[in-house]
């Protein structure tokens, strides 16, 4: 039953059929709490899309468009019951000295669609990022980049945080990390995700550990 719903939901997403997606939600309204809806339908569907992208079956445009649908659905169903969104360690996402925002936008909406709350720092420099992490007591930091020099700057962020003894989990992602599997370790990140659904898996795990 669940997997059938996920199939249908995934299909609706891949054809950008917002109405069909909403119908699946409404149909199962009584049986599922909003959180269950997220965990049993949205997260698995996004996960399948992520794997599909990794394997070359699904394209980024489909991921982006379905992310938009899910983000809206989740905002609609979650706003009345925000508890899941507040009782987690503080988390933020930023694009480090880079002009390319799409990767971050996709990861941000996948995380929100999966019920997480996070601050969006937009484009940010190393120094500004370090300052805000300390001031805002961020425990989990996601960094997205597209250019190689920006990816290499993650190491600077780590060094500056270490200097002041600030402990933060750093999760990185973006094209340079996808093309060099070792790069995330080299820049001293704690984890790297290949796509938005991996971001959700990693964050879920980190949140359990914290």
């Amino acid at each position: 039953m669940i997997s059938q719903d996920v199939d249908q939901f995934e299909k609706a997403l891949l054809s950008f059929d917002r109405l069909a997606a909403e119908n699946i939600l409404n149909k199962s309204d009584g049986d599922r709490t909003p959180i269950q809806f997220i965990e049993e339908l949205i997260v698995p569907a996004l996960e399948r899309l992520g794997t599909g992208w990794e394997e070359g079956r699904v394209a980024l445009s489909q991921i982006y468009m379905s992310g938009r649908i899910c983000e809206k659905l989740v905002n609609d169903i979650l706003s009345p019951c925000v508890q899941k969104r507040t009782d987690q360690p503080r988390m933020a996402i930023g694009v480090l000295e880079d002009y390319h925002l799409l990767g971050k936008r996709i990861v941000y909406s996948a995380l929100r669609a999966s019920g997480f709350e996070l601050l969006d720092y937009g484009q940010i420099t190393v120094d500004e990022l370090v300052r805000r992490i300390k001031e805002e007591r961020i425990k989990v930091l996601l960094i997205s980049v597209l250019m190689l020099p920006s990816a290499l700057l993650v190491k600077k962020v780590r060094e500056k945080l270490k200097e002041t003894g600030t402990e933060v989990k750093i999760v990185v992602g973006g094209a340079p990390f996808r093309f060099d599997n070792n790069l995330w370790k080299e820049v001293e990140a704690d984890a790297m995700g290949n796509n938005a659904s991996e971001a959700v898996q990693i964050i879920t795990k980190i949140m359990e550990e914290l």
């Binding site: 394209a59 980024l60 468009m65 799409l102 250019m147 060099d180 080299e186």
Partner: protein, 353 residues
């Protein structure tokens, strides 16, 4: 033919004719390393045609590869459209804020004329000067961003995906404008002396859009545009996937397809066999930390997969070597091509069996 009497251009043409030349042709697509060589910042380097001419010639002397690359950077086209180029000290320039803020702005746009854009005239001057130096010996590769891929810089990536799916009329209109510009820009480079045009079209890659959408968009646009470009083209997905659409790409009239390291070169080659030549696919990002031994291993592997029968040019998989890749690695790649790339590739059959 012995290596001494065959030029780089002949070597490339032979392979494009799906024959084996004396050795695997090798395109080292360095854009910024010339600046290092001349001891200049990247910004200063790209400010004058003379610098790029000198940089390209020195790179070729050093690494003995088979082309001159007249590519400055992608944002230079945006500069012609009125956009901003943001330079970096240790990487390629990026384009600034998108020019189109609302979809409706597309109705008020006019494509720039090449003759009125000093940044493009600088590239043309570079090509002319290089042509005077290398004549018919070395192919000079010019570059255009495809009409279908340029809008990521014109309007932003997220808005562009929405435009494609949700605003078909404005999308078509923008494509008309971009096609006009792209054709004029490509042909100007060919007239200045470029031998071929690299058509960067990563939005068409199945990494970015699904094949069914490609067939109604990027494919048709490439077919129309390439038909008007008066010289050979190579289609580059900038390290995005091409495998599922190779047959379609071959039908756009392009001569070369550039494949990513995430695809199996042997599989790509077997699909392209005799239809279209293949260029690729060393991992430029990872290259930065290769040892000389690793460089040799990757080059040998690429040669063994792509080389047999010709129809193959060895290169990186993005169309640009990152600034961070050390000279030693580039030298090791070059040496490996010269050592293992001589036809006939007898060693590949021995090692395979």
């Amino acid at each position: 033919m012995t290596p001494s009497n065959i030029t780089s251009l002949q070597r490339v043409l032979t392979t494009l004719g799906h024959q084996e030349p004396d050795r695997i042709p090798f395109f080292l697509l360095v854009t910024m390393h010339g600046a290092k060589e001349l001891g200049m910042s990247i910004k200063e380097y790209f400010s004058k045609a003379e610098n790029v001419v000198e940089g390209q010639l020195r790179m070729r002397d050093k690494y003995r590869h088979d082309c001159i690359y007249a590519f400055f950077h992608a944002p230079i086209e945006m500069e012609a459209w009125g956009g901003e180029v943001i330079y970096s000290e240790n990487g390629p320039p990026n384009s600034g804020e998108p020019l189109i803020h609302k979809f409706g702005d597309i109705n008020n746009m006019t494509p720039p004329k090449v003759k009125d854009a000093p940044c493009l005239l600088k590239v043309l001057k570079t090509i002319e000067m290089l042509k005077n130096k290398v004549r018919e010996e070395v192919p000079i590769i010019g570059v255009v961003i495809s009409p279908f891929s340029l809008p990521i810089m014109q309007i932003g990536f997220d808005k562009y995906i929405e435009l494609i799916y949700e605003q078909p009329k404005l999308f078509e209109h923008l494509m008309k404008l971009n096609e006009l510009f792209c054709v004029e820009w490509a042909n100007a480079q060919l007239s200045a002396g470029a031998t071929a045009i690299c058509y960067f079209d990563p939005v068409s890659s199945t990494t970015i859009i699904p094949r069914n959408l490609y067939l109604t968009t990027g494919f048709k646009i490439a077919k129309r545009t390439i038909a008007q470009i008066k010289g050979p083209t190579a289609t580059h997905m900038a390290s995005g996937r091409c495998l599922p659409i190779i047959d379609d790409i071959a039908q756009t009239g392009t001569a070369i397809i550039c494949t990513s390291v995430i695809e199996d070169l042997a599989e790509v080659k077997s699909i392209c066999q005799k239809k279209i030549a293949v260029l690729g696919n060393l991992n430029g990002i990872e290259m930065r930390r290769w040892t000389s031994e690793q460089a040799e291993t990757f080059v040998k592997d690429a040669i063994a997969k792509g080389g047999p029968g010709g129809g193959y040019i060895l290169s990186d998989n993005h169309g640009e070597i990152p600034w961070q890749v050390p000279e030693e690695v580039l030298m090791a790649i070059s040496e490996a091509v010269h050592k293992w790339g001589q036809y006939p590739l007898d060693w590949t059959t021995i090692e395979n069996s």
